[in-house]
């Protein structure tokens, strides 16, 4: 017995058994979804593997403390700047009181007594890390004569009214801390360019490290709930005009993105179901088949998601768009199958005969349609992006299941007795068009061909350009509070952009020190030559055991007791109060201990209190593993592809293993990958489809018509995106291959049917209506993705909707008349 007969017998005569199988499948899939559901919200997993910059970014996001950092900003009206200045310390104190805040940076640490005290606490290791000549020069100020001379001069400067001695004595009574900080200060150029107050004083920025337990989405949501509750109350004591309390940072983004996933799932699924259902009902005016189609596709989604979970262990956020894509694609099969079934019933066949006829006639086109679409999506495996790989595999599984279920389970919902469809205006319209186009193919082509060629011309001409947006903004969620906060901060601060980062991992402290010494020296030459604007490295904090040893030997030769006596005498002689120099005496004691060869030096990390603002600086450079570090390079202009190439060439230092990364750097690095996605893989897809079509038609004229249809559809899509100024981004370039995969199906349905057709009304007009309906539902299904907050998903959906629209238009208005012109057939009125 042929396969189509076996299937039709099963779904018409063994309905109970089929229902049981469906229930079992549904139950198992649901069980898997409930027990194993794990969502991957990491946006970086959308980027391809195998790129050093991407791996560097993941490493930076995972291992550095900035992952738990939030940036708050208070923004007021210009007339309230003085009030903001008064309010800022109060706000900072409120932040410090929050149970989720580990430490807060509200200004330069040097402006607070705690910041000065913390710095003095780590002065000895920094001092011992100086280059031996610089150390000897620095430590020479402890000679009694020099101490006396320095204090005399400081007093005279105070008499003269200079502010300098007060500042100096507060931070560095002995005169040795400042030289120890010199390498550090020299490297802090990037930080100096990032003040915490905007130049117009209408914005104050506060950095907060939180105690978020993990970097996962649920902890981020919980933290942001607390943060938003704090934001709501933070303005209570503000007595000025409107005051914005903004917050941004990784946790803010992760929380928003993960919450928007829920929105995206609901909106895109319900949007798809509503739009697709509306088009189906408009075409067939039947509820039960619509329900059957919905159920079959729901089953496809559930089974595919369960399969995806079993294969990958977790589902990436981009796969939330999977259901909408599957509904948009799978509905094609249901519409075609039901259209053919209805036609068979209208011709007088009974229910079983109609089912058999539909499966027999459409089994092959649905198989090939599913194959081309599945291959199109499986090509996402070549993107090397974990998120898109999942999407491709899930859709490929889903589309095969959609083909299978619409040729079987779908029929369970079609009643054995059904009334014929009267007054089908859509079919009447389609039939009129097909009749006219078949009789006058030249006239139709005279209209459609110039339009499509004009669009093709627009597509290939350099102007208007196709916008390619590789900026970080193109990856941000729509209407994102965190994004708004970030852009407000960036807009109000002096011109700056995100730096490139160089990540260095060493196996021991001395190696880390040596690496950064080399890197700092090399980057300094780049800065001098103007190739980079500034740089900042952890060189000053990457302590060298070798230098410490040598400097301790030199320190042991200094008579620190004599220094102490001289200091006491000079303080008294110049009239200074002893309290002014108390930290200096403490430092002398610590130097005395360090001078003893067997004494163990305390680790500066343990000397610095956990609440110290200096950790903001330290954490910027050091990961949780102190041997994993990063340096920053600010370019003279935002990082584009040329800048990225220059940085790749220039930042590297021979003998120092360094991973170059940063968001802007990575996105610039991915542009060639993105172009490769657009050109090479789409070309690969085209070659596959060209071969498949040649095999299918075995007729060079029809084959050529189909190829021309596909080419015109893709160029019309590009022209539309140019004219409507819809940008391509790093990820919606994948739409081209999807459009090729989906668009080729419409051509197959129409041209294959034309090739075999004996009765044009039955075979051609009967398939054009479902194809139009299928095309419109696919456009609606993909268009529904445009409602998603996730820009990747939204951009992909819009681009696909445009492409599929043009595929449909080219098939109906170009492929059909062209096939009629190439292989004319006579229209016979059977029913009128």
């Amino acid at each position: 017995m042929p396969l189509h007969s076996t299937v039709s017998r099963l779904v018409t005569q063994r309905r109970g058994a089929v229902w049981l199988a469906v229930a079992a499948m549904f139950a198992v899939s649901l069980l898997i979804l409930i027990t194993r559901m794990k969502l991957d919200t990491e946006v970086l997993n959308l980027l391809p593997n195998g790129f050093e910059s991407v791996e560097g970014l993941k490493l930076y996001n995972r291992d550095f403390a900035q992952v738990r950092e939030l940036t708050f900003a208070l923004v007021c009206k210009p007339e309230d700047v003085d009030k903001l200045e008064d309010f800022a310390p109060e706000f900072a104190e409120s932040l410090r009181q929050q149970p989720w805040a580990t430490r807060v940076l509200a200004g330069s640490p040097l402006e607070t007594p705690e910041g000065v005290r913390d710095l003095q606490a780590i002065a000895v290791p920094l001092l011992l890390n100086l280059e031996p000549t610089a150390f000897a020069e620095t430590i020479s100020v402890l000679q009694p004569d020099k101490l006396r001379e320095r204090l005399r001069r400081l007093r005279e400067e105070i008499e003269a009214g200079s502010p300098r001695p007060q500042i100096e004595l507060q931070l560095d009574p002995l005169g040795v801390v400042a030289p120890a900080l010199k390498p550090f200060a020299g490297n802090a150029a990037v930080e100096e360019g990032q003040p915490l107050t905007s130049p117009d004083r209408t914005m104050r920025v506060f950095l907060v490290v939180t105690n978020q337990p993990t970097t996962g989405a649920f902890d981020a949501q919980k933290l942001m709930e607390d943060v938003n509750a704090f934001r709501a109350k933070a303005r209570e004591t503000w007595d000025g005009g409107p005051l914005e309390v903004l917050v941004t940072g990784r946790s803010a983004y992760v929380s928003e993105i993960s919450l928007s996933m829920r929105h995206d799932i609901v909106v895109t699924i319900f949007g798809s179901v509503f739009l697709v259902g509306g088009v189906f009902y408009a075409g067939f005016r039947r509820w039960l088949p619509l329900l059957g189609m919905g159920f079959s596709l729901l089953l496809c989604c559930v089974v595919s998601l369960a399969a995806g979970l079993l294969i990958f262990g977790e589902l990436n956020m981009v796969t939330v768009g999977f259901c909408a894509i599957l509904i948009g694609l799978g509905v094609d099969f249901a519409i075609l199958v039901f259209g053919r079934y209805q036609q068979a019933r209208d011709d007088g066949l009974d229910h079983a005969g109609g089912v058999d006829e539909a499966i027999r006639n459409l089994g092959r086109p649905v198989f090939f349609g599913a194959l081309t679409t599945a291959v199109g999506f499986l090509a996402l495996l070549l993107s090397n992006s974990p998120g898109f790989t999942q999407l491709g595999v899930l859709v490929a599984i889903g589309i095969f299941l959609a083909g299978l279920f619409t040729l079987s389970i779908f029929f369970l919902f079609i009643p054995a007795k059904s009334r014929p469809l009267h007054g089908d205006w859509m079919f009447a319209g389609v039939k009129s068009y097909v009749r006219w186009a078949v009789r006058n193919p030249g006239r139709m082509l005279a209209v459609s061909t110039p339009i499509l060629l004009l669009l093709a011309l627009i597509a290939v001409l350099p102007k208007p350009p196709l916008i390619f947006d590789a900026s970080t903004k193109s990856m941000e969620p729509k209407s994102s509070d965190a994004g708004y906060a970030l852009h407000t901060i960036m807009g109000k601060m002096p011109m700056r952009w995100e730096p490139a980062i160089g990540i260095v991992r060493a196996s021991h402290p001395q190696q880390l020190h040596d690496y950064w010494q080399q890197v700092a020296a090399h980057w300094a030459t780049l800065q001098e030559s103007g190739k980079i604007k500034s740089f900042s490295t952890p060189a000053a904090l990457a302590l060298s055991p070798n230098r410490a040893r040598a400097n301790r030997e030199a320190l042991a030769r200094i008579d620190l007791a004599a220094s102490r006596t001289a200091l006491e005498e000079a303080v008294a002689a110049e009239g200074f109060s002893p309290e002014t120099f108390s930290s200096g005496f403490t430092l002398l004691d610590e130097l005395g201990r360090a001078a003893q060869p067997n004494a163990e030096l305390p680790d500066w990390r343990t000397q610095l209190p956990t609440t110290s603002s200096w950790w903001f600086l330290v954490d910027r450079y050091f990961a949780h593993d102190p041997l994993l570090t990063t340096g920053f390079v600010t370019t003279n202009a935002p990082i584009d592809h040329a800048q990225k190439e220059m940085l790749t060439r220039e930042m590297a230092v021979t003998g120092v293993p360094m991973t170059l990364s940063g968001w802007s750097f990575t996105l610039a690095d991915l542009i060639p990958w993105s172009h490769r996605q657009l050109i090479v893989i789409s070309a690969f897809m085209a070659v596959f489809e060209i071969g498949l079509l040649a095999l299918l038609y075995r007729d060079w004229r029809l084959w050529l018509i189909h190829i021309a249809t596909l080419a015109l559809a893709v160029t019309a899509m590009i022209a539309t995106m140019k004219l409507m100024q819809i940008p391509l981004n790093l990820l919606n370039v994948l739409a081209f291959r999807l459009v090729l995969a989906v668009g080729v199906d419409y051509g197959i349905y129409v041209i294959l049917v034309w090739q075999k057709a004996r009765q044009l009304e039955h075979d051609v007009a009967g398939v054009i209506k479902p194809v139009i309906l299928a095309g419109l539902t696919a456009v609606a299904g993909f268009g529904a993705l445009g409602l998603a907050n996730n820009p990747t998903l939204g951009g992909l959906g819009i681009a696909c909707a445009i492409g599929i629209f043009w595929s449909l238009a080219a098939t109906v208005f170009f492929a059909l008349p062209a096939a009629a012109a190439a292989e004319p057939k006579i229209w016979r009125e059977e029913t009128t």
Binding site: D82, A88, E157, I158, E159, G161, P163, R164, T580
Partner: protein, 220 residues
């Protein structure tokens, strides 16, 4: 005991008799009179004597010299004595020159840093134009003159200055200023021989002499 009580009582009586707080409207009128007088002659020069009581020093530091001022923010101070120095500001830059050490410090103003707040406090006493925008002001009449109490409005100023007291004579010339800082430091300056003669512009410019070591302690 009785003598002491009597003394305190009399002192208070005398004090109250001399210090008559002015109503806000009168303060406004007084500031208007000062503004008109300064507008008529926007420059001044005077000798001064200064006493600084600082937390970091055991004893107060006394110094004397001459000051030149041009409204709104140009000034020059020349300090005599053991450690002579010249401080010059043209409104954008501030120089402090130490001839004895052949060195000079250069500061850039207008960055809204602590230095600007300090300079604003210094020039406020000499300028007194639009001071009500920057300070909360109370005033009282003392004898033939007036005493103004200025407390800063802005937080950046509050970090530098807690209170500023200015004593004016009957001609509304500054006689004495007292600056109290939040850390307890106090600077009392007494002015004498005030003149409102024109001052050449070059007085507010400074070019370091050859061989002078120039530093920028707070950056360029």
């Amino acid at each position: 005991m009785f003598r002491t009580t009597l003394f305190v009582y009399l002192a208070l009586l005398v004090s109250f008799a001399h210090a008559e707080p002015l109503a806000p409207a009168d303060v406004k009128t007084l500031l208007g009179r000062i503004r008109d007088k300064r507008a008529a002659s926007p420059q001044m020069q005077a000798d001064f004597q200064e006493e600084k009581t600082m937390k970091m020093m055991n004893k107060p530091i006394s110094s004397s010299g001459k000051v030149w001022f041009q409204s709104p923010n140009k000034f020059r101070r020349e300090l005599k004595g053991n450690a002579p120095s010249t401080t010059v500001s043209n409104g954008q830059q501030l120089w402090i020159h130490y001839p004895k050490f052949q060195s000079a410090e250069k500061y850039t103003l207008g960055k809204r840093g602590p230095l600007d707040a300090g300079i604003a406090a210094i020039t406020a006493s000499l300028n007194l134009q639009d001071v009500e925008q920057t300070y909360n002001i109370t005033a009282s009449r003392e004898g033939a003159g007036h005493v103004l109490q200025l407390t800063p409005k802005a937080a950046s100023m509050k970090k530098m200055l807690q209170q500023f007291t200015i004593r004016l004579d009957e001609g509304l010339q500054v006689q004495r200023t007292e600056m109290l800082q939040p850390n307890g430091d106090r600077i009392v300056t007494t002015y004498s021989n005030e003149s409102r003669e024109a001052i050449p512009a070059s007085q507010f410019e400074f070019t370091p002499p050859a061989g002078t070591n120039v530093t920028t302690p707070l950056g360029g």
